[in-house]
Subunit: 499 residues, 2 copies
């Protein structure tokens, strides 16, 4: 999907803050380093092993108690003459000391600060929360703050990192998360499959800069193709909705809302301290703003992965299902229909064309399609794919390629490198088909010998912009939401240019 | 869960057929072998490579056109003097010839026959279907038939196999499936994770022997711990329900119904030819018979895997969630509540005991529990598990162990072999706890180096009867259905002894 540049006049709510010094800082200060390896010092180590320092970035560890820690020179104060202007400060001091350090950041004219420390509203310390809010209110004229109770920035381009050895590789996903753990989960998922991130930002309780600010920034960021959000609450629902509405006209936004139930919401209070609000309201907000909505991590990951590729949006709910096997054809049809999709019977013309290619034993061409044993042969499958895609009743295609069985098939069918051949044919066909295609690998075997070909196939597919989903119900839900997004864009693109 | 022997008087509907000659045949005939490797000859090869022949089983390939095929001696006819009494025949002739071969089987007093051939009701050939039904009606006095349009038997004990190289290993799952593909999927899933099957039976259109007959047999079979069913339709709903009711009093039955939607049902017609009936009726039947109900393959596989272990049934919906991380605690709470479970706040006593073990930074003990960084340490986690299990409000526990991070933790925490230590502690604790425990591995990393430790951990866990689920929503649904099953058993065990 290529989005045309829609001319929008942005009011102040939507104007992006210049976050260049946050994502590409020339200088960093880490305030509150100590011998405790899970304290501030881990930021120093993280930005050493990440390559940030090697690329010329300067890190100034700060604590008056130390001259040196783990081989790094430590400075007594942010105001030490040797400490230059600071683009990004990490605040890693005990909670009670944070408000003063926040004020110091303002005085020093630090551009951005990540408050790693926790122990505020999320721990029931409302007095301290109030003191922190007051300090931020004073300082934010000069310094903008991320957190508290967060990890900060993971940027593979500038090599800024929040954890030693955290997965990071260049990509086009910009991710904003109120959970540090969930920040790492999606990043690791993407990076270890050959994908990557443009930015992953753990924002924690987000007193000053909120998800809204990051959405506005990533909306205009040409390196961001999809915006992924894990949020538990937002401080200003109206501004947040405006930001979503403006962003989704330019790129897809995938939201995973933590606290979809009353118990989940209670848990968010002790996690990030915000008031979550009813999930019904969030759902309705997602619909009204053209946002994607995922229920849990694995679904979220499948959505973000597919939307970070080049893709087409389906015109409607009509899906063709191409598999080899009667049982799986029934299963995928059930999953599509349960998700609210349609699996219409193919036209007689399409069915006749398929019958010319495939022997008539143990096959079904009506939809779902059971291509039988011949469907395993790449060239036969490719023919079927092209024939089905031409059917005017079909808007997207869900199909199976069992990479774990390629080696077996290679022997039986006598075609070497079935994985590469399959991908080659899919690349060529997808250029002609111009409809969304989703591959399931229908995994059964769990041993390394089964996993490895699946993994290699998936990585190669994704690298070539061919969508693969790990669980078919996720594909069905994604197709349904892509249709909704298409309709949203059709309705809003030419409608309004003012927000 | 140990099931007491409930004394039940069985009427004729529930009397099991003696299937010993089917599952442990001394002699097999394969009728209709040819050079076509995907035809009947594959049964001959399958039972050679499976070890059936090596263990003394005799296979008689039959076709008057050949004297020998692929090194196997071929006999001209079932009635050839060299062909002895046959326990199990495979019928792999063209559809039109099947009725005559069926009659031949009866004449020869073959005990069981698998009709591999397809091309009957499922292909719209209703005349031929009628002829086949008539032939079966005549012959079934002597021979009982499985199929048509099926694969037959996979038994790791007798080594009977339906496909060369099909996964097979001894276990306690007895599986009956109307889809050949789905038969292989679950079997492969189990076997490649160190589990196994007692029997996997692909029954196809099941004109003579139906799922009901197999349920009645496996109910009384001491080697069957759980009965797994993939069904699209049943010919006699009343008898089927009776069979389920009788079986679930002795062991859990997990049903995956293909054709849950109108389109799925249509697809079942061209797959196995039966009339599927509304899913609402199937659901209500599952509730009324104490059966488990899974929606799709991965859920089915997780259910069957966990129910094939030794386990306790939860008393009620109250679940404790033990994780390390705020975001994942919110997620799992959301998933539990959405599935209809409860995540009650732990008692003050439990919370106080946990506070004695864990430092108070970034943790939450109310439920869901976020154990923070210390929760990664096996001994700390184990203490938490035992404390939480004692809480009278808690009936089952859902927890996370991230095997992919063990190697990293080993270095940081300084504990070698974290996987083995974790399992050792879990084995000891689970003996004391006596409540159902479900482990999620919260997979993120996808590379082999991440997959391998997860896979090894899962295999070792399952081997030690420790339940692991691949997707948390499946665990939530399983717990809910286990509660339902517990209540069903409590209500019915002493109620009625006559069916």
């Amino acid at each position: 999907m290529n989005f045309k540049n829609t001319e929008i006049e942005y009011d102040d709510d939507l104007k992006p803050i210049d976050m260049q010094p946050l994502f590409y800082p020339k200088t960093m200060a880490v305030i509150g380093v100590s011998q405790n390896k899970i304290g501030g010092i881990k930021y120093v180590i993280a930005n050493d092993v990440s390559g940030y320092m090697q690329a010329g970035g300067k890190v100034y560890p700060i604590n008056p108690k130390y001259k040196e820690l783990y081989g790094y020179k430590v400075y007594p104060s942010l105001f030490d003459p040797e400490v230059p202007n600071i683009d990004l400060a990490i605040i890693a001091v005990p909670a009670a000391a944070v408000p003063d350090v926040v004020r110091d950041c303002g005085k020093k004219r630090v551009k951005f600060a990540v408050i790693f420390s926790s122990g505020f509203a999320e721990s029931g310390n409302f007095d301290l929360q109030k003191k922190l809010e007051d300090a931020i209110e004073e300082a934010k004229r000069y310094t903008r703050f991320i957190g508290p109770n967060c990890l900060g920035i993971n940027n593979p381009y500038s090599h800024v990192s929040y954890y030693p050895g955290m997965a990071s590789a260049p990509g086009n996903v910009s991710y904003v998360s109120m959970s540090g753990g969930n920040t790492g989960r999606l990043t690791t998922w993407l990076v270890t499959q050959g994908m990557g991130i443009n930015n992953a930002v753990s924002i924690g309780n987000s007193i000053d800069l909120t998800a809204t600010d990051f959405i506005n920034y990533f909306r205009e960021d040409p390196k961001t193709k999809v915006i992924a959000l894990y949020l538990e609450s937002v401080p200003n629902g109206r501004k947040f909705m405006k930001a979503l509405k403006a962003a989704t006209l330019k790129k897809p936004v995938v939201l995973w809302k933590g606290g979809q139930t009353e118990v989940g919401q209670k848990a968010t209070v002790s996690h990030t301290g915000g008031l979550a609000g009813s999930y019904e309201i969030w759902k309705s907000m997602a619909y009204q703003t053209g946002s994607f909505l995922a229920d849990y991590f694995e679904m979220f990951a499948d959505f973000v992965t597919c939307l970070s590729l080049d893709y087409y949006l389906p015109n409607d709910e009509n899906v063709a299902i191409l598999v080899c096997g009667g049982g799986i054809s029934v299963e995928y049809a059930d999953m599509c229909i349960k998700a609210g999709l349609k699996v219409p019977e193919l036209s007689k013309e399409t069915q006749n064309k398929l019958a010319e290619v495939f022997p008539s034993v143990n096959v079904s061409f009506r939809n779902p399609l059971d291509l039988g044993e011949y469907g395993y042969v790449p060239h036969y499958f490719d023919k079927a794919l092209r024939i089905v895609a031409k059917d005017p009743n079909i808007s997207s295609i869900l199909y199976v390629r069992e990479a774990e069985r390629f080696i077996l098939f290679q022997d039986v069918i006598g075609i070497p490198n079935m994985d590469q051949l399959t991908i080659k044919l899919l690349i060529e066909s997808s250029k002609i088909i111009k409809k969304p295609l989703f591959c399931s690998m229908s995994p059964n075997g769990q041993e390394l010998e089964h996993y490895e070909p699946r993994f290699n196939f998936k990585v190669a597919m994704l690298k070539n912009n061919l969508a693969v989903v790990d669980l078919v119900p996720h594909a069905c839900e994604l197709i349904k939401q892509m249709v909704r997004y298409k309709r949203y864009l059709d309705a809003h693109k030419n409608n309004s240019s003012k927000y």
